[in-house]
């Protein structure tokens, strides 16, 4: 495959690199007589709009069933949206020409949650990376490929590289595997990496190492991230912007400061209230406003605002209409809550001070 020339930078920073525009993804459920029914489907992602800009780290947070993994698959083009569209540099990814498709694939890469399943168990590291280099590098000698593979291994701090070339994935530790997964992504030299819970399967000490690696790669290469995570502490430290999802919808979004320091959605506040900090004194002192109940199943989504059954400040209106957010030019902070503008209402939900 020949390398397409990188697009000239006529795009300004105001145009997002990758966007999801009002996308929905409906998983069809079993209908009658063995058919698949869309009507009864599970709306894993429901009319979500997210923009990702060049070089930034956007975090998508939420609990199980919120649709963040489905959203990541939509952004990567692995799943077709049931409605809405995904745009790469302003162009619908389903309508790209062959060359543009290649450019899209080169620009957007992925790192998965489970490092073991993200590597072909029957391929050695050498081949895993070599196949990628060969695919994107055009005609090269075996020696050139080998050099490039070793270079990439050094970038992810797997040194000396020849120690790892011959190994199979099960012969590596979890942290090493995740580094190889990251190496796969950066071998293509992307502009954006969608990382779906890249730290969850790793030990605490290794998480720190991988976070540092990702940071370093961003600083050196200017690559952006879409970081899917449930770990709010990590998000707070590494992300620029945050999108909070609940049951397939975005409930709040904005910069990290806006969302974490002054969250306005009851769900976001409840999430922050539930975070356990590694500080026993704080645990004793704090009054915890714990949210009631659990995330309902996607098959039975509540009417109106999806959060209303668990919301401490819900009113009748919330059961009927889905909330909207009006973007204002002054702020990028979007809140999808009927009562967000009312004075002092959401503040009733206490969150721990930093």
């Amino acid at each position: 495959m020949t390398l397409t020339e990188p697009e000239t930078e006529t795009t300004t920073t105001s145009q997002p690199l990758l966007s999801a525009l009002n996308v929905s993804c409906v998983y069809a459920q079993a209908g009658q007589f063995g058919t698949l029914s869309r009507k009864r489907g599970v709306r894993a992602v429901d009319e979500v709009t997210v923009d990702v800009y060049q070089g930034e780290t956007l975090a998508v947070v939420g609990e199980s069933g919120c649709g963040k993994t489905t959203l990541s698959k939509l952004l990567l083009g692995l799943l077709p949206p049931s409605s809405g569209s995904i745009e790469y540099r302003g162009q619908d990814v389903r309508k790209l020409s062959r060359d543009q498709q290649q450019a899209f694939r080169k620009a957007v890469q992925v790192v998965f949650q489970d490092p073991l399943s993200s590597l072909n168990p029957r391929k050695q590291v050498r081949r895993i990376l070599g196949d990628i280099v060969r695919l994107w590098g055009g005609k090269q000698s075996a020696e050139a490929i080998n050099q490039r593979v070793q270079q990439v291994l050094r970038e992810v701090e797997l040194t000396p590289p020849r120690l790892f070339l011959e190994r199979f994935p099960h012969e590596l530790s979890g942290g090493q595997r995740q580094r190889v997964a990251i190496a796969k992504a950066i071998a293509v030299e992307p502009q954006l990496i969608v990382a779906d819970e890249p730290l969850s399967a790793l030990d605490v000490s290794v998480q720190g190492q991988i976070i540092e690696l990702l940071r370093r790669l961003q600083a050196e290469r200017g690559v952006g991230y879409v970081l899917i995570s449930h770990d709010l502490e990590v998000v707070r430290t590494v992300a620029d912007r945050v999108v909070v999802m609940y049951l397939g919808k975005v409930v709040e979004s904005g910069s990290v400061q806006e969302v974490f320091d002054a969250p306005k959605h009851p769900y976001t506040r409840s999430l922050l209230a539930s975070v356990l900090r590694a500080d026993p004194r704080a645990a004793q002192e704090r009054e915890r406003a714990l949210i009631a109940g659990e995330v309902p199943s996607l098959a039975s989504i509540p009417t109106g605002c999806r959060f209303h059954p668990r919301c401490p400040v819900a009113v009748d209106h919330c059961k009927v209409t889905e909330p909207d957010a009006t973007p204002t030019p002054e702020t990028t902070h979007l809140v999808f809550c009927h009562r967000a503008d009312e004075e002092g209402v959401v503040e009733q939900i206490e969150i721990p001070t930093l």
Partner: protein, 349 residues
């Protein structure tokens, strides 16, 4: 520590509910001897909530399983030490005696409730099976509902008639807690009870556990890798690394003045704390438990390693009760051999 007197004079004011001494578990894996746990000493007194924290490969799960007597025997290469449950040594007991020793004293809940609940049996019936024999005569439904309510599952919703697959993750975990409470244990061992749960559900379940701890006076041994959970729940903490206990202290002391380099580096690497001070990063990974030599097992990754570390390290107890398996008096005062500067605790960068 509450005073307990028993007919056989088992637990007294001074002896703890669970006393593990020199527990050693070596496994035979593919022909190699894996030292999963070595000389582990820990104790839990009545009414305490104690944490056992460690990463994967630290041996904490082996310890947990041993305490309840759930280790498969076939792969054991070496099994040594004493496990005193309320005064009775349960190591080496026959099945029936073991069951008798466990009943009413210790119960366990696990990480994945799905694996530990019978999928073909209604939840209420599973709890009924765990009740002591006398309970079935009275009004078992009342007892069962009461247990479920204590575990946070409200009455009147017919939960006891549901099958496990009809419950959400958090509810299944609560059902397992109710199951564990059925035998009215004095000690509950919780092995990663909330790891598989969502953040908000985790907070709820931990709150339930804490209520049970406070209202029933039930002791808890909480095994986890999550320091947040430890900080939230535990009064005392043991830190395990590569099969050994490397530090033990009460929770506040451990978090504010960790003395073992591993604990210190590990705490520093947590995202929440890293913003407070810059320290060295914890590099490398856990050593191969089948190829351990003499000396400190953390040496290869320790920035403070020195020659004295080549000898096996005992636990050194400090005046405040904190015990550390390390030659260093205070890592904060010792120059690091790698030439990196050591940050002082409490200073914000």
């Amino acid at each position: 520590m509450s005073i307990q007197t028993h007919a056989n004079g088992a637990a007294t004011e001074t002896s703890p509910l669970l006393d593990v001494r020199r527990l050693t578990v070596h496994l035979n894996v593919r022909g190699r001897e894996v030292k999963a746990a070595d000389g582990v000493d820990l104790h839990v007194s009545a009414g305490e909530c104690v944490g056992l924290v460690g990463e994967s490969g630290s041996g904490k799960t082996m310890v947990a399983r041993s305490v309840v007597g759930l280790l498969p025997t076939v792969k054991l290469k070496r099994y040594d030490g004493d496990i005193l449950l309320d005064g009775t040594n349960i190591l080496g007991l026959r099945t029936k005696e073991l069951r008798r020793a466990r009943r009413g004293r210790v119960s366990m809940i696990f990480q994945e409730p799905t694996s530990y609940l019978n999928p073909t049996m209604r939840v209420g019936r599973q709890i009924a099976e765990a009740l002591p024999k006398g309970a079935m005569r009275g009004n078992p439904t009342e007892t069962i509902q009461g247990l479920l309510a204590q575990a946070g599952l409200p009455r009147g919703q017919g939960i006891e008639r549901r099958y496990p697959h009809q419950l959400s993750g958090g509810m299944k975990q609560r059902a397992m807690i109710a199951l564990a409470l059925a035998s009215d244990p004095k000690l509950l061992i919780a092995d990663e009870p909330t790891t598989a749960l969502d953040v908000t559900v985790q907070a709820q379940v931990l709150q339930t556990l804490r209520h049970l701890h406070e209202e029933r006076g039930m002791a808890i041994l909480l095994i986890t890798h999550d320091f947040g959970v430890i900080a939230e729940m535990c009064e005392r903490v043991y830190v395990m690394y590569a099969g050994e206990i490397v530090e033990s202290a009460d929770a506040v002391t451990l978090f504010e003045h960790p003395r073992h380099p591993y604990t210190r580096l590990l705490l520093d690497s947590l995202p929440g704390r890293r913003r407070e001070r810059e320290g060295q990063a914890l590099k490398g990974s856990i050593p191969d438990l089948s190829m351990l030599g003499k000396g400190c097992r953390f040496m290869s990754r320790c920035p403070f390693a020195r020659d004295a570390c080549r000898e096996d390290q005992p636990m050194r107890v400090r005046p405040n009760g904190q015990a550390v398996r390390c030659v260093l008096e205070d890592p904060d005062q010792s120059p690091s051999l790698n030439g990196l500067s050591v940050a002082e605790p409490g200073r914000h960068s």
